[in-house]
Structures are given as structure tokens and as C-alpha cells.
């Protein structure tokens, strides 16, 4: 990665971290409802892959831990926060919530709450790209536990069979909700599961954004150049529980501390400092500026935005009637 890109990515990862930590606080204050799944610890995964891909051009889909993926694709953090607040100005107009962030204008095709659900949707988007003949790729970010769903295998089979331009990114954070991977899954290293379908696969350290970037470059090039699907496994860790209702009783504090020694932001920060490209004072300034931005712009926007109108409860169930009239009434033009 170029130096200016590394510095930009560091700043972005700080935003992603602080955004999520601010969500935690807003949840405690009951400003955010429902389930909330936070991303701290895994930032290098999304950032490294999307630096190698083309945000806003490639189609991205993921599960419910989706805020950072949306922002990385270009969604406005203000609109993402407003969505968490359930406001009309939210990215899904307050109808989706934390698990259903969408920004189709940035080709962020959504967060989905059924574990494994996005697998075939991603392959379907790749099928559409194949039919239309574009150079986009579909990227599916999911956790390791999603691989225990039947559609994982169904999708891998079809993606390989039809050579679809889809990149599966497995963020292996070692836990499926509150069950450790070795207690739920016969094999810890997930990339080994895809070789049966003849799909190219690799495993990479998911804490070092530069390593992720390098691995993702290979993966993205493979998919974009018509060589079929690719499966990239990133070994990572989520610091917080699965969701906010999780007190992490299934793992030790020592284990958590061990992973925090390999924090993705600190790895990049320390490397830049060692290279003489950054000082600790500059880093602290980035943190301060980020917090000020989140407080003064992101939270302020979410707080001050209007609620959706109750009169609009049934809006968006179906397409606008006027546009569909010929098919609903049989009176085609």
C-alpha cells in the first residue's frame, strides 16, 4: 500500500472504531434499539479487502455486523447513525435498523440478519454481472459460523459450476454467537472447506490491514479477470460480544487481551510511526478530530432528524402503485 493510502486507511479505521464505540454508548442510553452487533477488532478485514476492490463500483453484501462495511463502501456515517436511531433520514429510512443498512447508490447491497442468507444473493449478483458483461465483482463478507448453513455449500457449488465473479470473504472471528468454533465446526480453518468445489482459496492474518490488502489483491484480480469465485479467509477477533446482550461468559478475558495485543489500528499506527510517517501526537489528534466529527456531525444529525411518519407505515411494502398499474390492473399501455 502507498504511504498516503496507509495514512488514509488508518484515519478511516479510527472512524470505524470510534463510530462503533459511540453506538455502544447510544445503545446504553437507549437511543438505539433492537440488536446491535459491533465490529471493533475486525476493522482490518473490511478495510484491507475494500482497498483492493473498487468501493462504489463492486457490489458488496454482508450479514448483520454491517455498519462499517456500509461506511467503507461510501455510505454517509450520518445516515448510518440516523438509521440506528430509527430516523427518516437513515440509510433505510428508519425501516431497517442496525442489521439492515443499505446504500444501493454506493452498491452496498445490504446487511441481512439470517446467518448465511447473503451467500446465494451474492452469487446471484455475480450471475447478473455475468449476464450484463460488466467488470464489477460481487463481494460477500460473512463470519465463519455462516459456513455451517446449507446454502454455503449450495452457493459454492453453483458459483464454481458457473464460474461466477464472486469473492467470498470469511471473517473468521472464532465464535458463532456464543459458541467457539472448535465446538461447532469440525475444522477451524474455513478455507479448507471450499477446496472440494475446486474454488481458489487462501487464509490470511486478518489483523494486519496491509497483509489483508495483499491477499485481497490476489483474490480480487482472480475474480475480476474471469477466473471464477475466490474464498479468502481472514483470521480475526471481535472484542465485544456477538451483540449487546452478550456478556462473553464463553471465553476468557486473557484470550481477549491476547487479541488486543494485535489490534489492527495499533499495528498500522505503530508501523507508520516506526517508518517516521506519523507521530503519536498526530495519531491522538486524529482520534480527537474523529470524536469531534462523530459528536458534532454524526450524532447531532441523528438526534435532530425527524421520525418516520406513522401515515407512511405501509410505504415500501410494494412498489409504487402508479408505476405498476398496467400489471396490477391488466391495462397495459
Amino acid at each position: 500500500m502507498k504511504l498516503e493510502d496507509k495514512k488514509r486507511v488508518l484515519r478511516e479505521m479510527v472512524l470505524h472504531r470510534r463510530f462503533e464505540e459511540r453506538c455502544y454508548q447510544a445503545y446504553i442510553e437507549r437511543k438505539i434499539g433492537g440488536f446491535l452487533h459491533l465490529y471493533p477488532g475486525q476493522e482490518a478485514c473490511c478495510n484491507g479487502v475494500m482497498e483492493a476492490a473498487r468501493p462504489g463500483h463492486d457490489y458488496v453484501i454482508t450479514g448483520y455486523r454491517d455498519h462499517v462495511h456500509a461506511i467503507k463502501c461510501g455510505a454517509d456515517p450520518k445516515e448510518v447513525m440516523a438509521e440506528l436511531y430509527g430516523k427518516e433520514t437513515g440509510s433505510s429510512k428508519g425501516r431497517g435498523g442496525s442489521m439492515h443498512i443499505f446504500d444501493v447508490s454506493k452498491r452496498f447491497m445490504g446487511g441481512y440478519a439470517l446467518v448465511g442468507g447473503p451467500f446465494p444473493l451474492a452469487a446471484g449478483m455475480a450471475k447478473a454481472i455475468q449476464l450484463k458483461g460488466g467488470d464489477e465483482i460481487a463481494i460477500c463478507f460473512l463470519g465463519d459460523a455462516a459456513n455451517n448453513q446449507g446454502v454455503f455449500h449450495e452457493t459454492l457449488n453453483m458459483a464454481a459450476l458457473w464460474k461466477l465473479p464472486v469473492l467470498f470473504v470469511c471473517e473468521n472471528n472464532l465464535y458463532g454467537i456464543g459458541t467457539a468454533i472448535e465446538r461447532s465446526t469440525a475444522i477451524v480453518h474455513q478455507h479448507k472447506r471450499v477446496c472440494a468445489y475446486g474454488i481458489e482459496a487462501a487464509e490470511c492474518d486478518g489483523q494486519d490491514v496491509e497483509k489483508v490488502y495483499a491477499a485481497a489483491r490476489v483474490a480480487v484480480d482472480h475474480v475480476r479477470h474471469g477466473k471464477g469465485p475466490y474464498f479468502l479467509e481472514l483470521m480475526t477477533y471481535r472484542y465485544r460480544g456477538h451483540s449487546m446482550s452478550d456478556s462473553r461468559g464463553y471465553r476468557s478475558r486473557e484470550e481477549e487481551e491476547m487479541w488486543k495485543q494485535r489490534d489492527p489500528i495499533f499495528i498500522l499506527r505503530d508501523r507508520l510511526i516506526a517508518e517516521g510517517a506519523l507521530t503519536m501526537a498526530e495519531f491522538e489528534a486524529i482520534e480527537k478530530e474523529t470524536d469531534a466529527y462523530i459528536e458534532n456531525e454524526v450524532i447531532k444529525f441523528a438526534e435532530e432528524s425527524p421520525e418516520p411518519r406513522v401515515e407512511d407505515l405501509e410505504k415500501y411494502v410494494f412498489a409504487d402503485r402508479e408505476t405498476q398499474r398496467p400489471w396490477l390492473t391488466g391495462k397495459a399501455a
Partner: protein, 327 residues
């Protein structure tokens, strides 16, 4: 007007729409090289090739989700699920992805796909190949459900479903693919909403859909000839949303209602139609509405038991006679 079979009508709709729009594709088990279990996609593979006429693996959840994902980018997939019994495996994607994505994205994304499936009990196919599942589909917000009772509807509903931006489930019937009927020679779009009067009458309304429309028509004939009762037959080709205005109009005219369905009774079209009658025109009724429906059993294999489980036109006649105090 051409007199063609139900499967031919479906095939013609596919062919016309695929010729018009290169983004219309079809997919499902055995639909390509094998030409389709019920021939509904016959000849399309040869004409449009494997990229657009896709023989899928036997992975209903996977390929249904794949079709839905393609529809996010403007592809119009017609997804055939060989038997509605297999649709259970695809329901997560149909309900959680296709039906909800417009709402949960605040209107940004839509899944304009068509799901076609053969429902209904055929002959001695046993418990896992004889399900009627319209009751399940019609209860899902964001999903349109239609069910053609004749070739004209089979053609026109599929045409409209492909053009519509909403996901549409088309419930066909295993025993109806070889049924013949008149289909307009020119392009025809059947409305995705509403109902139609299949036979006009004054004394009682018989509500049916798909195969039970034919039981109702046969019953109406018998009631007229043998008992002097004039029955109106209303074809509820659209199960979601149900046609409140059409139901109200007919019952307000005849003041009596019988609902015939091949599905089991607890939770179903019959209970919904009766609820609508209660809400819309309760004081127009001269008698309590009656449901004719299947027994609440997993479909038996034995021929006699199977016949006992599924109603037919005679059960409709009996229900009407009971309503008039003649049985």
C-alpha cells in the same frame, strides 16, 4: 384465440418475455436440456442457451436465493420450483430476502422475481409430494400471490408477474398442465390483483381458486339443473392481496357464500374470505358462510384414503344444499 394447454400458455409467456428482454432468464431443476417436468420451458434452452435457461442443481434454497440476488441488479428471473413441497427449502430466501428487501432498505432495493411452482395433490404422490401451501405464501407481507385456473390466466399472469417490480409467487397445479383453454392470440396481461366472475348467478356465491374453480363450476351446473339454485362462481386468482371489493360485491348480491379450497382448513383462503365477508358485508348474509376443504392429515398414499381427504364438486354441492336447508 388459440385453444392451447396450460403448460403451452406458460411456455409462450416465457418465450415472448425472453425474446423481448435479454435480462429475463429462467432457472430451475430440469428446465433446460430436459425441457421441464411439466414442459413449461420446452424449447427455451435451445433458443436462449444455458446462460439464460439454467438447469440448477437440486438446491432449492441456494438457487432461489441466487435468482433473488440477480434480480437486485435488474435481472428478471423466473424461478421454477419443481414441486411446491420443495419450496419449504426456499422459503427463507423467498420470505426473508425477496419479500422484505424493499421495506427494510427503505425502498432502495427490490426483488422483481417470479417464483413458479406446481402445487396441489396429484394422484397418490404421498405426504411429501402432495402439499397445498398457498396458505403459507399468502400470509407474507411484500409477496404477491396469484394462482391461475385456466390457460389464459396462466399466460397473462406470468406476463404481468415478469413485468411487475414486486416478487410474485405463482401457484400452479400438477393436474392442470394439460388442461386446454382459449388464450388470446395477441399479447395479454392478466391483472395481478382482483378476482373475476367465472359464472354469474344470484342465489349463492361459490368462491374458488385454481383447481377448485372447476369444482365450483361443475357444482353450479348441477345446482342449476337439478335443484334450481343459481350459483355465482368467483375465481380468486389473486390470493394476496385478496380482492375485498369483489368478495363484497358478490356476497352483497347473493347473500350466501361457500368457499372451496384444496388446502386444509385451519388457516387458509376460506378463513380469510369469511373474515373479509364479516368485515365488509356481514349484515348482507342470509346464512353463515361455509368452507369446503381438505382433511387435516398428511396426504395418504392409499387411493381411497386420498380421495376421502381431498374435496371435489360433490362436496361443494352438498355444502350449498346444506346452506339452503336441503340436505
Amino acid at each position: 384465440m388459440a385453444n392451447i394447454m396450460y403448460w403451452e400458455a406458460i411456455q409462450r409467456a416465457h418465450d415472448e418475455e425472453m425474446a423481448r428482454d435479454p435480462l429475463v432468464i429462467c432457472m430451475g431443476e430440469d428446465i433446460g436440456v430436459a425441457g421441464g417436468t411439466y414442459k413449461a420451458t420446452k424449447g427455451l434452452y435451445e433458443k436462449y442457451g444455458p446462460l439464460r435457461v439454467i438447469d440448477t442443481p437440486i438446491s432449492e434454497g441456494g438457487f432461489t436465493g441466487l435468482g433473488i440476488g440477480a434480480s437486485f441488479l435488474g435481472v428478471r428471473p423466473i424461478i421454477e420450483i419443481m414441486s411446491v413441497n420443495f419450496a419449504w427449502l426456499a422459503m427463507d430466501q423467498m420470505f426473508n430476502s425477496a419479500a422484505k428487501v424493499r421495506y427494510m432498505s427503505g425502498g432502495q432495493l427490490t426483488a422483481p422475481c417470479v417464483f413458479r411452482s406446481a402445487g396441489g395433490a396429484a394422484h397418490q404422490l404421498g405426504a411429501q409430494h402432495s402439499a397445498r401451501m398457498e396458505k403459507v405464501f399468502m400470509g407474507i407481507a411484500g409477496l404477491r400471490v396469484v394462482t391461475p385456473s385456466n390457460p389464459k390466466q396462466a399466460y397473462g399472469l406470468l406476463k404481468s408477474a415478469i413485468r411487475c417490480d414486486d416478487p410474485v409467487f405463482i401457484n400452479e397445479h400438477e393436474l392442470m398442465y394439460n388442461m386446454k383453454g382459449e388464450v388470446p392470440d395477441g399479447e395479454y396481461f392478466h391483472p395481478l390483483e382482483g378476482s373475476e366472475i367465472a359464472r354469474s348467478g344470484t342465489d349463492v356465491t361459490l368462491f374458488g381458486y385454481n383447481i377448485s374453480v372447476h369444482w365450483c363450476l361443475k357444482a353450479a351446473e348441477i345446482l342449476d339443473k337439478q335443484y334450481g339454485i343459481s350459483a355465482e362462481v368467483v375465481d380468486l386468482y389473486c390470493l394476496s392481496p385478496l380482492d375485498r371489493a369483489g368478495i363484497k360485491a358478490s356476497v352483497s348480491k347473493t347473500h350466501r357464500a361457500v368457499i372451496a379450497e384444496e388446502d386444509e382448513a385451519p388457516v387458509g383462503v376460506g378463513s380469510e374470505v369469511i373474515a373479509i365477508i364479516n368485515e365488509e358485508c356481514f349484515f348482507e348474509l342470509d346464512a353463515a358462510p361455509v368452507r369446503v376443504h381438505s382433511a387435516m392429515v398428511p396426504q395418504p398414499y392409499n387411493h381411497t384414503l386420498e380421495k376421502a381427504a381431498i374435496p371435489d364438486h360433490e362436496d361443494v354441492v352438498k355444502a350449498v344444499l346444506k346452506l339452503f336447508g336441503k340436505a
